[in-house]
Subunit: 201 residues, 3 copies
């Protein structure tokens, strides 16, 4: 279950990378690299921070194969995906939902404090997109006004709340991931954002 | 002693992160993330480079609590801090002073060469600010014309020079940190900067 | 052999860092930092990803000495190097050629899959330049239209192809490195680049 979720998130992020890279009119290798970095960036930082090296995509070839296939298909069927382009954020959102939960779970597996697990989940989910945006010279999505990291943090909290009930572990997984996705979808649909904090000099 | 210095540096950097993030009119979570990244960025890179994982803020909750409290207080009392705003660089400077020494000490504890220890101290001190500036779309302070990394390097050299004398270890710590702070303060006050090197094509 | 190649790549990258930093009119310490980051950035990421810590430049002082000497000489003789400036890319190219092979070899030494070894070689070769360009506020060279990462990938493939023949290991090393260099030189000379992939909305 854990594993399948990880793969779904990887595919979603790889496609979101391809879409951003194509918008920047990159060449095929550039597109592949951005797809790769977006898909594995968050998980790589997660693994490096907790000391799980060589990082997961280096020892498990599935990620590499999945990213290459997803990137090639996304390029070939770019006209079809275009209909979904206004929902580039959909892929992004599915990715952060699932990656948050995977990150939380990894943190638990090495015995970290719940707050740190939630931070680790948020890092896993957001960092791939941050690198993608920095490499593509965009202001990172995470710092534009939409709810983004906030959704991850709330999803992580949900995970630890419902985990106390006698629910199957896989169900806890899926519910927490869906909470992240729904919060972000609702926030974007209803243009909900947190107020900014500043003051006049 | 080591530990208290680390916490003081963490608070100083967290506040400097809050100030930059508020200037960018970020939402509360954005501000918290920037405060966090600024405060733990340098130490995280330091730990990753020497292989001390999970990195320190993940296994010691004090950092997290201190950063959250400092960030919340800095946001609440932003009007008061404003009087210090022209001295945003003050917090930055206290942070780099103490973090340089902590980094040098960590390098020694894993048996690295003094030159590498000084490099590690400079990285610990400067990298949090570099990430903060990159995420906030500013040119990193470190590469603007002021003395910055130079102060860290000179503080690190001081550490190894005075360490040969029969002085209490804690005193060595504090002196080296203060050297960094004073050099940077003087450099900014008297607008001292190194000459640039270039030539006409 | 492995070691000498690593040092040559380090020198080439340090000089390329000095040239970019001088163009940005940085002060001497800024130039030294950029030279350092360019020279050790790729290898550092490589070591962190596979878990070889403390990273190599921290335990082997040769890198540090070589970078400092190369940077000082490059600054002193900047008028001479200027004649080569139109070939800043030459140093860059020698660097990526040799670093690719070193990265591939390191991957093999920890038992990684050939595809991952090629990715690791490409990361080792390209990441130093990417950090250099990000810190200097340039769009990373790797994402400008020239052949760059592509050359590394093809050099890595060459390595695994010719390795099957009964050729001395050192020769395999050099041939693969030269393949990277020649592909990039030819691509720049004849303005060969991959077509970009995008489509009108």
């Amino acid at each position: 279950m854990f594993y399948i979720i990880d793969i779904i998130g990887t595919i979603a992020f790889a496609i979101s990378g391809v879409l951003v890279a194509m918008e920047k009119k990159m060449d095929p290798f550039g597109i592949l690299i951005i797809a790769f970095v977006t898909a594995i960036g968050g998980g790589t930082l997660r693994d490096v921070l907790i000391g799980e090296t060589p990082v997961s995509w280096m020892v498990n070839m599935t990620y590499t194969y999945v990213i290459i296939v997803a990137a090639v298909l996304a390029v070939l069927f770019r006209r079809k995906i275009n209909y979904l382009r206004t929902s580039l954020f959909l892929f992004d959102t599915i990715g952060i939902g699932f990656f948050t939960v995977v990150g939380v779970e990894k943190g638990l597996s090495v015995g970290l404090h719940p707050i740190i697990c939630i931070a680790l989940g948020t890092i896993s989910a957001c960092f791939g997109g941050v690198i993608r945006d920095i490499l593509c010279n965009e202001i990172p999505v995470i710092f534009r006004k939409e709810i983004y990291a906030t959704a991850c943090i709330l999803g992580g909290l949900t995970y630890f709340l419902i985990r106390k009930f006698p629910i199957d572990e896989n169900v806890v997984f899926v519910i927490a991931g869906i909470v992240v996705i729904v919060i972000r979808l609702l926030a974007v649909k209803f243009k909900i954002s947190l107020p900014t904090v500043y003051h006049n000099k």
